[in-house]
């Protein structure tokens, strides 16, 4: 999975592209750790180009949320497809994460 990021003030949007499975976990965590080291702790995961997610990907996201919160930060999600959202809701992650239709909406959510 490709992981890039863009900056909107002190909020970082992490653009994910591809399959968010066990093979993607290390690259996502590495990027998040880099951002935290640079004091960027308000994140949005942009799922608009993610075509698949499983428990490894969602577990990684939960791990990132817990780490960010320990640094007084936060993580919101945006742009989930119907397919991805169904997995998100199946394991009740929607009760833990704030989710938005678009990254614009998520930015306004901060």
């Amino acid at each position: 999975m490709q992981v890039t990021h863009s900056q909107e003030g002190n909020i970082t949007i992490l653009h994910l592209e591809g399959k968010f499975n066990a093979n993607a976990v290390s690259s996502v965590k590495k990027k998040v750790n880099q951002l935290i080291a640079e004091n960027y702790v308000l994140l949005i995961f942009d799922y608009s180009k993610v075509d698949f997610v499983d428990s490894s990907g969602l577990g990684c996201m939960l791990s990132c949320l817990n780490l960010l919160k320990s640094k007084n930060g936060n993580l919101k999600v945006a742009g989930m497809s119907v397919k991805v959202r169904s997995v998100f809701e199946l394991i009740q992650m929607h009760k833990i994460f704030e989710s938005f239709e678009t990254t614009t909406d998520a930015l306004q959510g901060y």
Partner: protein
């Protein structure tokens, strides 16, 4: 029922190969109104099952992961064999949502999206089987 098999080297880098093998079979052979939903569900279950196999199987045995698919228009049966015994077999039969960042939800997903699932330790191997009706 048609039977399809693939053997994979015991490495997480083979995860996409495993899921593509199964989704390709379903794309080619399944013809029903719920086809896309069926493929999405099976792709997810295969990803969860294979991830567990690649992560937790015994790598010292230097053996492959074996995936067998039995498929017709009304159902799929999958058998996944990995080297070494599984110590957490009970959690497959009785999964829960763990909300645990290190794991716990994969078994829940597999059970939620299949009609039958079971794991057995046989002759130093772990065999996971599941069935789903379309």
């Amino acid at each position: 029922m048609e039977t399809y098999q693939i053997e994979l080297s015991n490495d997480l880098s083979q995860l996409d190969t495993a899921t593509k093998f199964v989704t390709h079979l379903l794309e080619k052979n399944l013809h029903n109104p719920e086809k896309e939903k069926n493929i999405d569900d099976i792709e997810l279950v295969i990803s969860e099952a294979c991830t567990n196999a690649f992560k937790y199987s015994d790598k010292t045995k230097n053996e492959t992961i074996k995936l067998e698919i039995n498929l017709n228009q009304t159902s799929i049966e999958v058998k996944l064999q990995s080297p070494g015994e599984n110590k957490y077999i009970e959690s497959i039969q009785n999964p829960s949502i763990a909300h645990n960042e290190s794991g716990g939800n994969g078994n829940f997903i597999m059970k939620a999206l299949t009609d039958e699932i079971q794991g057995q330790n046989i002759d130093q191997s772990f065999i996971l089987t599941f069935k789903k009706k379309f």
